[in-house]
């Protein structure tokens, strides 16, 4: 790809962006990504499949996550990691998102962060499956989040 085409695609992604679309997966019910009880505090639990291969577009750009359900204990803190592949084959880990249920009352800060929009979406080729996993400050099992994953398509076209 030559420089003129790269400049044109940059223009299309920034200015003439009429083809860009935003989607979320899974299309239906969210998938719970919870700790498995075997992972120690701040160690990642097993990955959970969010969608199978050939569900997202090829290519697609990972743009963020929206957390629809969060059943962490109050004052528990965690990272959600999104990757490509399936739970049974090698994974490419793409992005970590720090989140929490609540913070200590004395802090005067009680906002619950529900949506993360990535300033620079990550391009994913080949329509692989999408997986997620969490690690959190407590070792309690069976708690976590249920996210929708945000994707963009037709960036630069």
């Amino acid at each position: 790809m030559g420089l003129p085409q790269e400049v044109r695609q940059t223009f299309q992604s920034l200015v003439n962006s009429g083809n860009i679309r935003r989607v979320v997966i899974p299309a239906g019910a969210v998938v719970a990504i919870v700790s498995d009880g075997a992972a120690a505090a701040n160690a990642y639990a097993a990955r959970v499949a969010i969608v199978a291969a050939a569900v997202i577009a090829d290519p697609a750009w990972l743009g963020g996550v929206t957390i629809l359900q969060d059943n962490l204990a109050n004052a528990d803190y965690a990272d959600l990691q999104i990757g490509t592949g399936t739970v049974a084959v090698p994974i490419v880990d793409l992005a970590e998102f720090a989140f929490y249920k609540d913070v200590a009352a004395g802090a005067g800060v009680t906002q619950f962060k529900q949506s993360y929009e990535m300033a620079f979406p990550i391009r994913i080729a080949g329509a692989p499956g999408i997986v997620g996993r969490i690690r959190k400050a407590s070792a309690a099992s069976g708690t976590g989040v249920s996210p929708k994953v945000i994707f963009y398509t037709a960036v630069g076209t």
Partner: protein, 142 residues
């Protein structure tokens, strides 16, 4: 100019190599546990710089895009966090942030080169040695 245009294209469109992460990592000890930073027991006085990422722990060019604060201890009527480069107890300021929420995203990410350590410190209005835990949000692959 060509290099600049190519990097903009890589960031916006051909962005396969971009990764979002957090500091500290497991390489910094305590299995990626958030780092506790403490205010001095004097109002509006920073505590010591505290290591978040060990020296040379930033292995590639990295953009600091924000941070999260966890486990506030203390009344914290008002508070500020500073993030810098270096090896504790020394630090060189990158940014000062007044706390208005537990999740902070920078509108203009701060680029740091590979091969530096990262530190943070904390002060509050209370006059007590308040503490809070911090994680940095990062981007790589630019």
């Amino acid at each position: 100019m060509m290099v600049m245009i190519r990097r903009i294209f890589q960031v916006l469109v051909r962005s396969d190599a971009i990764r979002y992460g957090t500091f500290p990592t497991s390489a910094d000890g305590a299995a990626a546990l958030a780092i506790t930073i403490a205010a001095a027991a004097v109002a509006w006085t920073f505590g010591a710089w505290t290591q978040i990422v060990v020296l040379a722990g930033v292995t590639v060019e990295t953009r600091i895009v924000g941070f999260t604060l966890e486990n506030f201890v203390g009344a914290l009527a008002q508070g500020e966090v500073e993030i810098g480069t270096g090896t504790a107890p020394a630090g060189t300021l990158l940014g000062k942030f007044t706390i208005v929420g537990a999740d902070v995203t920078l509108p203009n990410p701060i680029r740091v080169p590979a091969g530096v350590g990262l530190v943070a410190r904390y002060r509050t209005s209370t006059g007590a040695a308040d503490t809070v835990d911090i994680k940095l949000k990062t981007q790589t692959g630019f």
